[in-house]
């Protein structure tokens, strides 16, 4: 009797799982291994940050979980099923905000509701009422209230990235993929957006994969940090980050925070040499 219960609960115990995953790019003799024998299990509500030297396969992991890339070998499971077998509706944000210039900011943010079920079924009915309010609420939360009717090119880079976070989160995804979302922003805007993101995350606690080059960003946001080796990428260190939330900029001045970032930096420098 207990067996079926366990099986049905399993998807909730692991949001995403990589099993012996290898990714090889290129064709013929001109191939290279981007990701080597990677095993990884992510639990619901984990905020995972991936750091490592550039070209180490961080974004590859992200694309694997998002179903944008197939592993050459091994298996990727999302919500207990092999990735791609079922639509999960993953939220995604890149360094480039990729707002569609033909839509207003609000229409951009509402785009996932047009695609992801069950919202998509009632999109044409709810887009002027419930969904609009939902977009407006998110915009207010990230400090963009009143900008819904603007076009993307009328907004600054920081504002676009705020809108980008709204779009990634509007359908309350279980999984949120962030590929260096703040990489192109200045230091002050970036730190401001850390807090915005943390607040949004604490609301609904989605599972987050964050790829970043900024070690302070990883330490500030993540509940778990994966350090990866140079290509072919492998996870060389996996640690949890225990600072109490909500974290503030004060947190970043604590000795433990500095120790953590120094530790990460040392590991990445070693990985680059290897």
């Amino acid at each position: 009797m207990t067996e079926p219960t366990l099986a049905s609960e399993q998807p909730f115990a692991k949001v995403a799982q990589l099993e012996n995953v290898q990714v090889r790019f290129g064709k013929g003799s001109n191939t290279f291994l981007a990701l080597d024998r990677t095993n990884l299990t992510v639990r619901p509500g984990d905020f995972v940050a991936m750091v490592g030297p550039s070209g180490c396969g961080k974004s590859t992991i992200l694309k694997l979980v998002a179903g944008l890339l197939r592993p050459t070998e091994g298996y990727v499971f999302v919500a207990g099923r092999e990735v791609g077998s079922e639509k999960v509706g993953i939220g995604m944000a890149f360094q480039n905000p990729t707002m569609m210039p033909w839509l207003t900011i609000r229409e951009n943010i509402m785009l996932p509701l047009k695609i992801v079920k069950p919202y998509a079924d009632t999109f044409s009915r709810d887009k002027h009422t419930v969904f609009r309010d939902r977009a407006e609420a998110l915009l207010t939360k990230v400090g963009l209230s009143g900008f819904g009717d603007r076009r993307p090119w009328e907004l600054s880079g920081g504002m676009l990235q705020r809108a980008n976070l709204c779009r990634a989160l509007i359908h309350s995804p279980k999984l949120l993929m962030l590929d260096e979302p703040f990489g192109a922003l200045d230091q002050f805007t970036r730190e401001e957006l850390w807090s915005v993101l943390q607040e949004l995350w604490m609301d609904t606690k989605p599972t987050v994969f964050l790829v970043t080059h900024d070690l302070r960003e990883a330490a500030f946001l993540a509940s778990r940090i994966l350090v990866m080796s140079a290509r072919p990428g492998r996870v060389t260190d996996d640690r949890s980050v225990g600072f109490a939330r909500p974290r503030t900029l004060e947190t970043t001045f604590e000795p433990a925070f500095a120790a953590l970032t120094n530790d990460l930096r040392r590991m990445i420098v070693e990985a680059r040499k290897a």
Partner: protein, 259 residues
């Protein structure tokens, strides 16, 4: 009184056109150019107006032929462009063919069309079609092929299928390319129609011009040219207006200026 920047620009271009015709008129008078060589613009305009009842059916014929050829070219061009733009293989196969096809002078194709379909509207429509199709195919294909992969990735990660990606990203992204090509294609379609009409037809502005030239009615031939130019400008303006309505977002600077 201060005029807006836009009005000043429009006045300038209007003044330039008036000046152009005025100097044409003046040089004809000063150098006493024979109207058989180059008629004065005033003579051309008066011919155009006086002969309008007789010219009108021909103008209408050319317009209809052009629009039919252009519409068919648009449908086929968009279809071809979509296939070529969405598949790497189709792109590699079709591109050399398209370039080769577009390099053929269309005047060389007309006799073949006449051979197949006889003289009249059909070869004119086909010539208009073949003349206007290339820019449409190339622009639609370019628009589709250059869509930022990250825009598509955002939708694919959400679980969007191919048609959802197409309707929400590829299609709107391609619209500015498509309309830019329509403005060019519609004027090219005119060229094709008139080309065929001058070779083998008994109706249309092309025919009128051929007959006028052979009877040394040079002002009438020029009146035909003017009618063509006016129609071309008219159609260009219509498509420019539609473009502005549908994809004004691609023209951000102008929109800023108007706001």
């Amino acid at each position: 009184m201060s005029l807006s920047q836009q009005t000043v620009e429009q006045l300038k271009s209007a003044a330039f056109i008036v000046l152009l015709f005025a100097s044409w008129e003046a040089s004809c008078v000063v150098f006493s150019v024979s109207p058989i060589v180059l008629p004065r613009p005033s003579a051309i305009f008066s011919t155009l107006i006086l002969q309008m009842p007789a010219l009108w059916p021909h103008i209408l014929q050319t317009l209809v032929t052009t629009m039919v050829g252009f519409a068919a070219g648009m449908v086929i061009g968009v279809t071809l462009g979509a296939v070529v733009g969405m598949s790497r293989t189709a792109y590699n196969i079709a591109y050399p063919l398209l370039v080769g096809f577009s390099s053929i002078p269309k005047v060389a194709v007309v006799p073949i069309f006449v051979l197949w379909f006889g003289s009249g509207a059909v070869p004119a429509i086909l010539t208009a079609l073949t003349t206007c199709i290339f820019p449409i195919v190339v622009n639609v294909a370019t628009g589709l092929a250059t869509t930022e992969p990250e825009m598509e990735d955002v939708l694919k990660a959400l679980g969007a299928n191919r048609s959802q990606v197409f309707w929400n990203v590829s299609l709107p992204r391609t619209m500015p390319y498509f309309f830019a090509s329509l403005k060019i294609a519609v004027t090219l379609a005119f060229v094709g129609t008139v080309l065929s009409e001058t070779v083998a037809s008994n109706r249309g502005i092309g025919t009128v011009m051929m007959m006028a030239a052979s009877s040394f009615d040079v002002p009438l031939a020029f009146a035909g040219l003017f009618a063509l130019a006016l129609l071309g400008i008219l159609l260009y303006a219509v498509f420019a207006l539609i473009e502005q309505r549908i994809c004004g977002w691609a023209n951000r600077k102008q929109e800023f200026a108007m706001a």
